[in-house]
């Protein structure tokens, strides 16, 4: 590579209590290139980014920017050096206006010049084609637009290094394409871009180089053309990847005599329109559709997570009334929520407490689990699901995303549900864990558990589900089974007739 090196990180080390997050990692970014940073969850990508942006101080190592050693102690330092970041979670203030979010914290002087700020924000939003108004309250924009405002902010600073940490996880295809256009545009202007993502196709669509990390160590830096996708995955996982397609597809129990486990007729909640739904014992089915099509709202209605407003529900042929998650749990339904951080984990509690939470609720608070029982259950599931944690006393927030997800999964498995709902269980999770979770789902169904699976990755749904319920505009628009289950068919159904 002849192009000029803009950023060098050498021998970066970062330790957390009980965990070596980074051990002697090197990273080099050249001007006008897009450099993908890859690795499984817990590989140290986020930590490396946070060291670079001054969120965490590094314990050892050196950062050079355009040849000069820099010391970065805060996000502000990073910004001043020309390192801008867009994080996976939107780090903007929803109570401020769009324009303020783009300019706050980086203007000169003590005063706020609203006129100039609104004008410049308007121009920038227009030039990037972002559908937001400068004076709009940010909280009133959709998540995707908020993400793009964050990118607009990052782009507008005089930035040499732009870090995009999972920027596409909440964007739809059109928006992703728009973002890529923007990235290529910036690349042409000489910005070095660090691109962190879990979507392999996206890496190959825009990146020039790939750096792979594993368990806090550097695996290597590669040119994207010299590293086929399969090899990349191998390097990330560090072992021969069991080919994803080898997972045996689930076959639906057939015949008219299959007893439905759960039946709903005209079920509706404050957030979802009335719909009919059923699942048989041992069946794996899925809701699919675009973001906002109502798939999550439907399963939330099944679990009673939103206020149920109507409809009849039968479990094993008997009428039941499910008005709250507690009712659903008593009927043996488990639900792994879409937003792990908000609805799933209790961040400050230990892994053990998080695992035992649902079982304890089922038992009732007057029949506490003994400490020994809790320890035993925790150990059992940490081993069974291969949860990577320093100990069962570690607070769950110290775990990587994939391992947090496994803890939540363990929480539900411990209650031995007859019906498990998994809403985006594999989002933001590395390929290895994804495969594990998919295999687990199939194993559970073989043992007779019914599973409803939601994922934005259609391929994943096709691999695991024997029946797909397709939603559009908050309505069920189709149901696909057997041979109809092909990617093309699903896409066509999601898109609708005219497509």
């Amino acid at each position: 590579m002849e192009s000029e090196i803009v950023l060098t990180m050498r021998g970066i080390c970062k330790y957390f209590p009980g965990v070596r997050a980074l051990e002697g990692v090197d990273f080099t970014l050249r001007k006008g290139t897009i450099h993908a940073l890859m690795g499984e969850n817990g590989a140290g990508k986020s930590t490396l980014i946070k060291v670079l942006t001054g969120v965490y101080p590094m314990d050892e190592g050196e950062i050079r920017l355009e040849g000069n050693t820099v010391s970065i102690h805060s996000p502000q330092d990073a910004q001043n050096c020309g390192i801008s970041t867009v994080y996976q979670e939107i780090t903007l203030c929803p109570n401020l206006t769009v324009a303020e979010n783009m300019f706050i914290g980086r203007t000169e002087g003590r005063r706020v010049d609203w006129k100039t700020m609104d004008r410049r924000a308007g121009e920038l939003l227009d030039s990037l084609g972002i559908p937001a108004r400068p004076r709009q309250q940010l909280g009133s924009c959709s998540l995707a637009v908020q993400q793009m405002v964050a990118i607009a902010r990052a782009v507008d600073t005089d930035c040499k290094v732009l870090i995009l940490d999972e920027p596409t996880s909440s964007l739809d295809d059109k928006e992703v394409e728009m973002l890529f256009r923007l990235m290529r545009d910036l690349k042409a202007r000489g910005v070095g871009i660090v691109f962190v993502t879990h979507f392999l196709e996206q890496v190959y669509a825009v990146s020039d180089q790939i750096t792979v990390l594993r368990n806090g160590k550097l695996v290597g830096e590669y040119d994207v053309r010299e590293l086929p996708q399969v090899q990349l995955v191998e390097k990330m996982i560090g072992k021969d990847l069991e080919d994803l397609s080898n997972i045996k597809k689930h076959t639906a129990p057939t015949g008219q005599n299959v007893q439905p486990l759960y039946e709903a007729e005209g079920l509706s909640s404050t957030e979802s329109r009335p719909f009919d739904f059923h699942i048989a014992k041992g069946e794996v089915n899925g809701f699919t559709g675009l973001l906002g099509s109502g798939r999550s709202e439907s399963v939330r209605a099944i679990f009673g997570a939103d206020r149920v407003t109507g409809g009849k529900v039968k479990i094993n042929g008997k009428d039941v009334h499910i008005a709250s998650p507690h009712d659903a749990m008593k009927q043996g339904i488990g639900y792994l929520p879409e937003d792990r951080k908000r609805d799933g984990i209790i961040a400050d509690l230990s892994v053990r407490e998080n695992i035992n939470l649902a079982l304890q609720v089922m038992q009732g608070f007057f029949h506490p689990l003994s400490k020994a029982q809790m320890r035993q259950f925790a150990d059992e599931y940490i081993a069974a699901l291969q949860i990577k944690t320093a100990s069962q006393d570690t607070p769950i927030k110290a775990l990587s995303g994939g391992n947090q997800q496994k803890v939540i999964l363990a929480r539900w498995l411990l209650t031995h549900p007859q019906y498990l709902i998994l809403d985006e269980p594999t989002r933001g999770i590395d390929v290895g864990t994804k495969t594990e979770i998919q295999k687990l789902v199939l194993k559970l169904s073989e043992e007779g558990m019914s599973v409803t699976f939601i994922s934005s990755e259609i391929e994943e749904m096709l691999r695991t589900c024997s029946r797909l319920i397709v939603m559009r505009d908050r309505k069920i628009v189709g149901e696909l089974t057997g041979d109809e289950l092909t990617q093309a068919n699903v896409m066509k159904t999601i898109a609708g007739g005219e497509g």
Partner: protein, 362 residues
């Protein structure tokens, strides 16, 4: 201007503005209601000025509370700081031997601000840099201030300094807003200096929160602390500043209080921090931070003051009725806020769903 019609587009009210408009509306309705049903004093312009005169200190500490609450904190020491300031200033005035009235009063004023500043600095440091819960820090501050007040003097202290008494009786007279008394004399409307100071504080704080970076940083801090940090805001300094402002305003409120009632005793402005919190909340400040407005808090304080006046003039004149009315008002407001905000969030959600359901053709 860019000539882009997106910029010309009128934005819907933000949550904070909406809540403020509601509180202004309620104040207007309440006041008009009092004019119609009670008449008397409420028909005179002086009534409004009396509300301001009597509640100047409350208005100032409501601003003090609003600033920290927007930043996601709380300050319950403001009443205690008023008490301490009033007592210290009263003792200082009575024992000061400086000839010049001007110098004495200036020194008293600086003493008041100094006490407030000291509390602000200390509490701000503990909350922002040592990251101790603001509730605990300011609760301790309140106890400290009350304790110091009692140490200074167990008995009430009346100000005897002639110059200060003259100042405290100084009133701005506006004849065209006055009324003709029964004996035919024109009685002009009277405004105390404290009331003018209070209104000025409201306007200045509004400008600070709206047009200074510090103000916007406080909003950002209260909106999402983590995001504010990521956006490159010095959150510790911002948080610290909000407590310093709040402390200085408390000291100023103490001075204004002393001008209105030139006497100190250990229980001066007892529990006024609770009234100030109520005024802020009624004015549309959320306890969760990030949303609020001092103009709203001004009207919140005026609503509490009007309730007090109405009850004083009605047959129910008893302090517990006033407390109950305040309580009911607060409860009503919090319910109203939550209903309005959730209705908004819902309509927003629908809008978004519709936009996603029917993507625009390119």
């Amino acid at each position: 201007m860019s000539g882009n019609n997106k910029n010309v587009h009128r934005e819907p009210l933000t949550d904070a503005q909406l809540l403020m408009v509601i509180s202004i509306g309620i104040f207007a309705a309440m006041y008009l209601g009092a004019m119609v049903t009670l008449g008397g004093g409420f028909l005179k312009a002086q009534q409004i000025f009396d509300l301001l005169n009597d509640n100047a200190a409350l208005i100032i500490i409501s601003c003090a509370l609003t600033v920290v609450m927007i930043g996601g904190g709380i300050n319950i020491s403001v009443g205690g700081v008023i008490g301490l300031t009033v007592m210290s200033c009263a003792l200082f005035l009575n024992n000061c031997t400086i000839e010049s009235d001007f110098v004495t009063i200036l020194l008293t004023f600086l003493l008041a601000l100094g006490i407030g500043l000291a509390f602000g600095l200390l509490q701000g440091f503990l909350v922002s840099y040592l990251e101790i819960q603001p509730f605990i820090v300011t609760l301790a501050g309140m106890f400290l201030a009350r304790g110091l007040t009692t140490i200074l003097s167990v008995n009430p202290v009346k100000v005897t300094h002639a110059g200060f008494l003259a100042l405290s009786k100084t009133k701005l007279k506006i004849s065209w807003l006055g009324y003709v008394a029964q004996n035919g004399n024109l009685i002009p409307a009277k405004i105390e200096i404290g009331a003018i100071v209070a209104v000025a504080v409201v306007l200045i704080m509004w400008m600070v929160l709206r047009y200074l970076k510090l103000g916007r940083n406080i909003y950002a801090l209260g909106g999402n602390r983590q995001s504010a940090l990521m956006l490159g805001i010095n959150v510790k300094k911002t948080c610290f500043s909000s407590y310093v402002i709040s402390g200085v305003l408390s000291g100023l409120a103490g001075f204004v209080f002393l001008m209105h009632k030139p006497a100190g005793n250990a229980s001066v402005a007892m529990r006024s921090e609770m009234d100030a919190i109520a005024a802020s909340i009624i004015g549309g400040t959320l306890l969760t931070g990030g949303v609020g407005n001092v103009i709203g808090s001004f009207f919140g304080a005026m609503i509490l003051a009007t309730i007090q006046k109405i009850i004083a003039l009605s047959p129910l004149n008893a302090s517990w009725w006033q407390e109950m009315a305040n309580g009911a008002m607060l409860g009503f407001f919090i319910m109203l806020q939550s209903v309005v905000l959730s209705a908004r969030a819902k309509s927003r959600g629908k809008l978004e769903a519709n936009q996603q359901g029917h993507p625009k053709k390119e």
